[in-house]
Chain length 382, copies 2
């Protein structure tokens, strides 16, 4: 076990009737809220009304800021910072999936400083404080509702960067699995792949494999996602499947998996960020393509841990069978597993390598993940 | 999955060099600390000096309050409350095992109110606030360093009661496994049994067995304790064993095991409290006696979950084999598994039943745990 600090102060309110608690939960932190959400989906499902009623019913003044897109972009976040400052809001309320919550965090950090938020992402400035954040999760996967990380795309630079800061843990996150009944099958699958990858990458990155607590927790989370994702894809109103996917996604990146077993290294995410920065592909879709390629590259380099993964998570008999089983699972929930399925060919590789390597340097992964290694992994994903 | 709230704001600092961080960690919460510890052991090991140096080095004024005993008693806690009030301390710093941390919590709650602390334990008053608590753990088992519960014995009434309150989570807990190198084999074993029982009891209490996340986490924690306890008993300086026991103990009762899978029902603890209230036996010793008897009583009443436990935790083939394996493990770490080993005979049972049933009523377990059921479990433990 390696030394660690663990501190996750997010309050989770989980269950069928959790939505109306958002107003009272947010009211604790102030009087005026910036209510951030995405496009039209929460209006269609009626969730918008339920949230707005709860916020206003708790005595909150509400300023709306809709329009967050998947893979949230810097320009929209910057405009949100301006609005938060102009309206002098006390709290950020985010209703959505990882994209909405991530952008909410960027706005929460930007609203209390004169520093441009992209400075934080390129590690030229450090986030010291942020407005309090309250979230209501509508799509599982990113784990942003219970961690201190965020990802944003600078659309001018075509760079998708992520970072973490202690003050970015949401104060409260409302997790109602019934809210996700309306998430379409493809988004359900991509979210499940994202959650799976957060555990998978940490599991694979361990140097010391004699960490039975963390290993057991991670295997349990991965097995749960592998079992529940097809059930939720097949029957969107399966409460048990939705609930387990939701809680597994939150726990996957809350710190409990890597504390003592670390490091939190996410090389598949790093390569995927290049894909979704350049092609505006769904994050989970990109991960489904990168993970098997990464495993093929690692098959003789990390044989011990790949073998254990194959046995424990898929009941397979070898790392090679484990890769096959992973691909089969991804295909079963209708995810692509090759670049060619996303119409990305060999010619695109050098551009992808260049983009991913930028992030390798920022994330301090460039010692191992040289341009040549990234290229090889991408070739194995063609 | 059942609905739940999860909120565990304790900051954990874990590792070989964590001790000197106690001063700076405590200093964040005030200027004057009540430094609570037990008898002489931390002076013998030199830990006392290291802690005092760190506290004073961080600029804290320190008021000492030693003398906490195992199964901490009300009169000592009351005197601590008086001292905390008289000295107007800002923070409670607890250096010890579960007993010291539990008494520290009682003092922290008592120091900010005029209500006598025993009123809280008999549910006649509710804890609203408490002084900030910082802990340094020296004996693993209770999990008090990462939860909001405490147990205290009213020595006049011979009642050992426990309760939880949101404000009782320690702000920071320092977990340095090397500190536990000097814990003697019997205390090591009793602590391991306590941690094991916190998971075991929640695992057994589940109504809905389709909770794979929590089940996997609990199985992983129990298996870890079962493997590591004999290693630490045999070689007290085995860092890996000590570290895994320490982190497993903290996670065992931090909320992550029962959130969504609950309830947090601890019937073996309830019966054990009668044992250690009346005979001043170590808590883990009493649990080692009660758990197998409880399992024998439940063997046909909860066959499904006992069967899964037997298979997953001990690789046994039936609930009966699981009970045998549990007893064998307890014996391997030199714990008693029968009342007769503690020289408690049939004649004592009615007195024990009466004492345990009192607590069954306070803990709301008396519907199932009638005096007749408690008696039967104790007879199966003779």
């Amino acid at each position: 076990m390696i030394e660690f600090e663990y501190h996750n102060p997010t309050r989770i309110i989980f269950g069928r009737d959790a939505v109306p608690q958002i107003g009272p939960a947010a009211r604790v932190y102030g009087k005026k809220a910036l209510f951030i959400y995405g496009r039209q989906s929460i209006k269609k499902t009626g969730l918008y009304e339920r949230v707005a009623t709860s916020l206003r019913g708790a005595g909150l003044e509400v300023v709306e800021y809709p329009g967050v897109k998947a893979n949230p972009i810097l320009s929209h976040a910057r405009a949100g910072v301006d609005l938060a400052k102009k309206e002098k809001v006390d709290i950020i309320v985010a209703v959505g999936g990882g994209s909405v919550i991530d952008e909410a965090k960027a706005i929460a950090a930007g609203a209390v400083t004169d520093t441009d938020i992209w400075e934080f992402f390129e590690s030229r400035a450090k986030i010291q404080e942020a407005l309090p954040i309250v979230t209501l999760l509508t799509i599982c996967g990113s784990g942003s509702e219970m961690n201190n990380g965020m990802v944003l795309t600078n659309e001018e630079k075509q760079a998708k960067f992520g970072l973490r800061a202690p003050c970015l843990y949401p104060k409260v996150s409302i997790l109602d699995p019934t809210v996700t009944f309306t998430v379409p099958p493809d988004q359900t699958a991509y979210g499940a792949v994202d959650a799976f990858s957060h555990v998978f990458e940490v599991y694979m990155a361990r140097e010391d494999l004699d960490t039975p607590i963390q290993e057991g927790i991670m295997e349990s989370l991965m097995k749960t996602v592998v079992t529940r994702a097809p059930q939720a894809v097949e029957n969107p109103r399966n409460y048990t499947a939705r609930a387990d996917l939701m809680w597994a996604s939150s726990l996957a990146l809350c710190g409990i998996t890597f504390s003592g077993a670390g490091p939190l290294a996410l090389p598949c995410h790093m390569i995927e960020h290049a894909l979704s920065a350049l092609y505006d592909m769904a994050h989970g879709e990109g991960l489904a393509i990168v993970m098997p390629g990464w495993m093929r590259y690692m098959v003789d380099r990390k044989r011990g841990v790949l073998d254990r993964f194959a046995i424990k998570v898929f009941g397979a008999k070898s790392p090679e069978e484990g890769i096959e089983a992973l691909e089969k699972w991804l295909v079963s929930i209708n995810c692509p597993v090759r670049l060619s399925q996303a119409k990305i060919g060999e010619k695109e590789i050098s551009r992808l390598v260049q983009n991913a390597y930028q992030l390798a340097e920022v994330w301090d992964l460039s010692d191992f993940y040289t341009p040549r290694v990234i290229e090889e992994i991408l070739r194995l994903s063609l």
